[in-house]
Amino acid sequence: MEHHLLEIGGVRMSRREDLRLITGAGKYASDWNLPGQLHATFLRADRAHANIVSVNTEAAEKHPGVVRVFTGEDAMRSGYTKPMTMLTFKGRGGMEVLRPERPVLAHGKVRCVGEPVAMVVAESALIAQDAAELIEVEYEELPVVIDPEAALAPGAPQLHDNVPGNVPFDFEAGDAGATEAAFAKAAHVTRLKLAVTRVAPNPMEPRACLVAYDAGTDMYTVHVHVQGVNMMRKQLAAYTGLPEEKFRIMAHDVGGAFGQRSLAYPEYCMQLLAAKQLGRPVKWIATRSEGFMTDSHGRANYVSGELALDKDGKFLGARLDWIADMGAYLTPTGPVSHLRNPSTCLTGVYRIPALYGRWRTVLTNTNPIAAYRGAGRPDVAYVIERLVSQAAADLKMDAAEIRRRNFIPPEAFPYKTPTGSTYENADLPGVLEKALKLADWNGFANRRRQSEKAGKLRGIGIATVIENTGAGLFPRDEVQIEVAAGGTVTAYTVSHSQGQGHETSFAMIVAETLGIAFERVQLRQGDEDHPLFGNHTGGSRSTVGAGSACHLAARKLIEEGRALAALELDAEPSQVEYANGSFRGGESKRTITLADLAKSRVFSVTAQGSFSSTFPNGCHIAEVEIDPDTGVTEIASYVTVDDCGRVINHTIVEGQMHGGVAQGAGQVFGEHVVYDRDSGQLMTGSFADYYMPRAGLVREITMEEHPTPSKVSPLGVKGMGESGCTASLPALTNAVLDALRPLGVQHLDMPLTPAKVWHAIQAARTKQ
């Protein structure tokens, strides 16, 4: 591999892990098996809110091949009743979070469809499934509340005794008084009530877990998919009350995550209990139906937004009132990410002098919400960017011009926002102008006329966004590098790829720093024989954190190697030179390689670093064409200009951007988890009803980079795994609304399905 690649601004390289993954040679959670393993299946609540009167397991226990049936009584006896919380800060008026109990099997009450009520452990999965059908549960139905706004109303069904009004946490940010004053002097106020719809993460790999307990060492080995072993270990320990060091987490390949894999689910905790009590390993593989019902859902924020402007279109203030649906229980990541990330980026990319946000988290009879690609960042970008484009329309201003007029100027960075965060750096006008040119913004009117001639409605939408990448649950990231006598260099990280391409990117960083061939470097993620402190993969933090630590560890390896080489070369370390894997120095001018140093000793270093948030930003411009006969929207063009700092591998960055944009497009045009309002039954429980984007939805993306290197990382990188999602939600929705506005349509909520768009067109035409 050519050296100094980082200096010349990155390379293009296919991912080395792809051949393994696409030829079926990957090892996923369900691929693990142990001798003597038992199989678990879960009987799940078939109603959304009910008292459990009785659970009769007699027939199931007698079913041949059944080893044990567990119920909520077992969960209560174990004390596995309270999941971890990451809400360590206080809320509005000093409020502490009210943590609802969530026994790992429902006890007394079920609060959403799919909640596990009993676990059958048997000699085979089939036997367990058969036996589960023999369990008789008597319920006493309770009134159901699905809509979080309805859950706030007086007299609404209450989910948890210790959470009065269904609000476990109330939070605010900014200055309410100053914001009110700003609105008082506004020439214009734009208001929108927006739904950032509930979606299902749907990673390709269904959930699976295999737990073995060893009585000799009192240790649990947990084979499960993770975003990082430490996060999983911490949560399992918190949920069960067992010490963290009792868990050995084993994970290789992870088939997609999007935030969903960061949780220790109740099912895994029940497997811990069963494996210990039964003395045999217990395996469980979820079906896709269970995935739709019980894998944590994402988004589900309902926001009333107001933007105050002066007569020239300058922003004076913004006020956002959030209702954050949390589902029936709080997950560790749901509330924290849906409050902290939006409050960090509440001002968007704009200078808004007065800002206020209030967040009410609300419990409903639905599946719990957790972080989902972007985790609140796309949500806030969607609200702000919808408001800004709507304001431009209200004031008959160009949507790019209103942004230009209100950007935080390059010289104002580092920029302290009114909600207390500090954006590191960005060149927003540079990003915008590049994108406008790439999208031929000025030629749109002409293209619209062409579409009109063909009977189509054309619209252009823009979004300029910024987001904070995750600093992480752990205050620092460690990476270990070990050199083998054969010359192979292995880097160990906590950060765990779920498809991001770490094996390529991180190996590139190590190879580049050491000046050795890429092929000589390999990556091991979450290796329990090399325990390290550090963060999981999430919040676009991995290259910033683990990637930077790879670089620091490689540098440390050189320095320690220099000292060792100096002894062997009989020279001062300062006189030993290092280049391309070899040390040279002393009078003999002898050469000692990294591998030589590993022949007589374990040659290994661990480096660590603390990395705060970086602030990737960008401008996306989407152009759409709508067929008014059917309401079908086609994405005519999609342009991205992103500042994700220095790029290591353009191929991976582009892949992440493609995936993020497509994921956002999926949400804009169809993805939506729907529950029946009255019964709380899941209406989108399979791919027959739940829309997933197909390849044809996003045919081409034109991309350019506009890097301003970050100083947070010695590599100059910023995170970018979520940027595509963050910008595409508002860019695409703004484009559709731009197409419909001439008809008089001002607002639509996602998903912009053909039927919804067609109805909007019909309604507008009827009015005209």
Binding site: L126, H672, D689, T753, P754, W758, H759
Partner: protein
């Protein structure tokens, strides 16, 4: 999936006899509907009688103004068959819109027709072309064969052997796929046949149906404009989270227009 016994039939006769003797046995051809149903534990047959590879159910023949497609013919075979493309290109086009490549390489025309999913594509062609369903016992006209959602004239143990399509003068199919499932949300098959214009609609209602008003209008003037102002009764159509009845009624009209336009080039 519940346990079941697998039986590989050596002939249609044997399969029919086995079904007669085992009331809870089910036929397995391509399995594209049955297998997912079994996996979801929504059916519990005692036996699966596999007729997927029977020579009696293979083959496409054309002659004397008719196209004969054996019941075991895979969608992919129909979509790529020169005989079908020559005789009724709209049928090959329709077959290529079913499911995805995996489904098209497993699913069979006989299985699809016998299952009579209200959103399947083939029933529109069978009814639109006025085809005859030949079974192990008799010949059934398309009109009599489809009897509403997942219901057909087939008696227990009766197996679809082949479909006999009269070759139409001109025909076309326009489909609006359901955004999630890819099945027809509205699929309209229009054919100009020896006995007049036929318009069959799938996906929109509880079962495939003929849109007689459109047939009459197109019989007078075979042109998309002839359909202006015509609408199916929305009250009789399906509704789900992806589409209202009104929207489906609109799609039927739009797809009908587009099918005619495919033929007339207007």
């Amino acid at each position: 999936m519940y346990p079941f016994s697998y039986v590989k039939a050596k002939s249609l006769k044997e399969a029919g006899e086995f079904l007669a003797a085992h009331p809870d046995a089910k036929l397995l051809a391509g399995g594209m509907t049955l297998i997912p149903t079994l996996k979801a534990r929504l059916a519990q047959p005692s036996h699966l009688v596999d007729i997927g590879g029977l020579a009696e159910l293979a083959g496409i023949k054309e002659g004397a103004g008719k196209l004969l497609i054996a019941g075991g013919t895979r969608h992919h075979e129909v979509a790529t068959s020169d005989a079908v493309k020559k005789a009724i290109p709209a049928l090959a086009y329709l077959a290529n819109l079913i499911g995805d490549p995996q489904v098209r390489n497993r699913g069979t025309i006989g299985g699809s027709v016998a299952n009579n999913d209200p959103a399947a594509d083939y029933p529109a062609a069978v009814l639109g072309l006025g085809a005859t369903v030949v079974t192990t016992r008799r010949e059934i006209a398309a009109e009599d064969f489809f009897q509403g959602m997942f219901t057909t004239a087939l008696a227990p143990g009766e197996i679809v052997v082949r479909l006999v399509f009269p070759v139409a003068k001109r025909a076309a199919y326009a489909k609006f796929p359901h955004p999630a499932s890819g099945y027809a949300m509205a699929g309209v098959f229009v054919a100009e046949t020896a006995t007049g214009v036929r318009v069959a609609v799938t996906g929109a209602a509880p079962g495939v149906f003929r849109w007689k008003e459109a047939e009459a209008a197109l019989g007078r003037n075979f042109n998309p404009a002839a359909l202006a102002g015509l609408a199916v009764n929305a009250d009789e159509l399906n509704e789900d989270i992806h589409a209202t009845r009104e929207y489906r009624a609109n799609l039927v009209a739009v797809m009908a227009r587009r099918a005619v336009a495919q033929i007339t080039g207007k």
